[in-house]
């Protein structure tokens, strides 16, 4: 890659000015609002902070030890993993199937793609509110439809057994369009000659997908799996809005626990520790992605 190079001590003032003017504002904002908070949380994770007395006390790894034995936190980790295990296969498989439907250009594909993408751009608060109202036990549209066709009404977000899966449904409904788009981009990149060769060899349409589409989309699958995993560990808005972690704590995901410790119980040190732990998990997953995607090229 060609670049204009500024060397230390050179007299290319206009080049130096161009570098500073263009880069400094963004770099400064990144440092102040992103890097410093991360460093601050790392430091706070070793402190016991008393807001009332205004004191900060260094307590070493005590917060980390607490996290390792805090049943509430561990349970929220478990719930997050459960959420991840429910959401990722559903969103990836559904997104992949949708991309196969949309891929072959027909009169209706463009319209269908637009419709499937609408929830992606609609505000999370609106999507969550409307779907939660649809899932309302007594007046919701879904129960009305179920009862109309003779099925029993469900509790959805109010039923401890169904609440987490209801949130999975809301988030998958909202985000599956994005997954579909990534698969579509992958499908476009497959050379048609591969399919022609498969047809000449007598492949059925299922075999065509098994032996051409899926192997050729391997890197897309890795990318989609990892980004959806990261999103799963971040889930928060829909939980805060609908259940607040209930019923019976069945939807208390990690970020919900952090939020409560930080903004309701004012345990700033401990909430920082939890934030650091979550950040470490997400960084590890991100690094895994860049390692996997580097291997293929």
């Amino acid at each position: 890659m060609e670049r204009y190079t500024y060397r230390r001590g050179s007299k290319q003032w206009d080049l130096l000015a161009a570098i500073l003017i263009n880069l400094v504002p963004t770099l400064l904002l990144t440092i102040v609002f992103q890097l410093i908070p991360i460093l601050m949380a790392s430091w706070y994770s070793f402190l016991k902070i008393n807001l009332m007395a205004g004191t900060k006390q260094f307590i070493g790894f005590a917060n980390y030890l607490k996290a390792a034995t805090d049943s509430r936190f561990l349970q929220s980790m478990g719930t997050t993993v459960e959420y991840f295990l429910l959401r990722v296969p559903l969103q990836v498989v559904f997104g992949f199937l949708l991309s196969l439907i949309i891929y072959h250009p027909k009169r209706w594909t463009a319209a269908l793609r637009t419709i499937i993408m609408l929830p992606v751009v609609t505000s999370m608060v609106v999507v969550t509110s409307i779907l939660a109202l649809m899932m309302h036990p007594s007046n919701g549209l879904i129960n009305s439809l179920l009862v109309t066709v003779g099925l029993p009404a469900q509790g959805f977000l109010t039923d401890p057994k169904q609440a987490l899966f209801s949130i999975v449904l809301i988030t998958v409904w909202k985000n599956v369009g994005m997954t579909m788009l990534f698969f579509l981009a992958g499908l476009m990149a497959i050379s048609p000659s591969l399919y022609e060769a498969a047809i000449i060899d007598g492949a059925t349409s299922l075999q065509k997908h098994m032996y051409v589409t899926i192997p050729m989309l391997k890197s897309t699958f890795i990318f989609v799996l990892i980004t959806t995993t990261i999103r799963s560990f971040q889930v928060f808005g829909p939980v805060l809005l609908t259940t607040g972690g209930g019923p019976l704590n069945t939807t208390r995901v990690v970020v919900m626990d952090i939020y409560e410790n930080a903004f309701i119980f004012n345990q700033l040190g401990y909430a920082s520790t939890q934030s650091v732990l979550l950040a470490v998990i997400l960084i590890v997953i991100s690094l895994l992605q860049s390692k996997l995607s580097r291997r293929r090229t």
């Binding site: 570098i19 992103q34 608060v125 971040q234 808005g237 903004f263 997400l282």
Partner: protein
Amino acid sequence: MKRIKTACIALAILLLASIFLLPYLWMLGSSFKSRSELFSYVLPVSWKTFIPVEPTLNNFSTLLFQLGFARTIFNTLALSVITVFGSVLLCSMAAFALSLLDFPGRKLAFLIIMFTMMVPFEARMLPTFLVVQDIGLSNTFTALYLPWLADAFLIFLFSNHFAEIPFDLYHAAVIDGCPHTRIYSKIMLPNITAALVSGALIKFFFAWDSYVWPLIILRTNKFQVLGVAIANLFTDQSIAWELIFSGGLLSTLPVVIIFILLQNYYIAGMTSGGIKE
């Protein structure tokens, strides 16, 4: 036989489309219903569940004139416009410097931006709140957009597009006497307008969707945004369904119109924003 197959496919496609459209149709119809009508046609499901028999605009006037939604929409619009222009400008400038210029510390700047990209907002919600509070910005309008202007995703998106411009273009401009400080605006920016639109759309949908951040950083209603206002209607004890539908419609309409008009730019941006060094 062929006709039956076509009919089956058409039915399947219609069913699929209705999975995604039904909530929108329900919201659209219900937002013009009074509360009593809303709950009259819950069961059995009929056309009256979706289409108002006696359409009314009362919900909208209640929202706009009694519950302050006129102000809320203005705030959200202002927040979105400032976020879009600020971040597209700043991120494209940074992308220009990082992708076309080399200097001591370039790798470090790149690393800082990439590292922060790996830690999403949810994991630094608390410390970001504390930093914004410490620099005295909590409860200000500035706090709503300033932390969101620098965006690694946009920087990588624009960098990829700058990298595709033939370098000779830059070289020729320098030989013709154009100073480096003016290359960005004169030569480079006009060549990535499509990417700028993509970035603007991504940021617009993001800012319009603001919810958790304003919820924790604002303590007054003065700068209230749509996300929080609708969430408040939803979590309110006397849950007013008809207002949630109308508020939801007010929030969704502009987004859907913009998306339908400019979706190709949005899709191109979302699927091309990968990191290339």
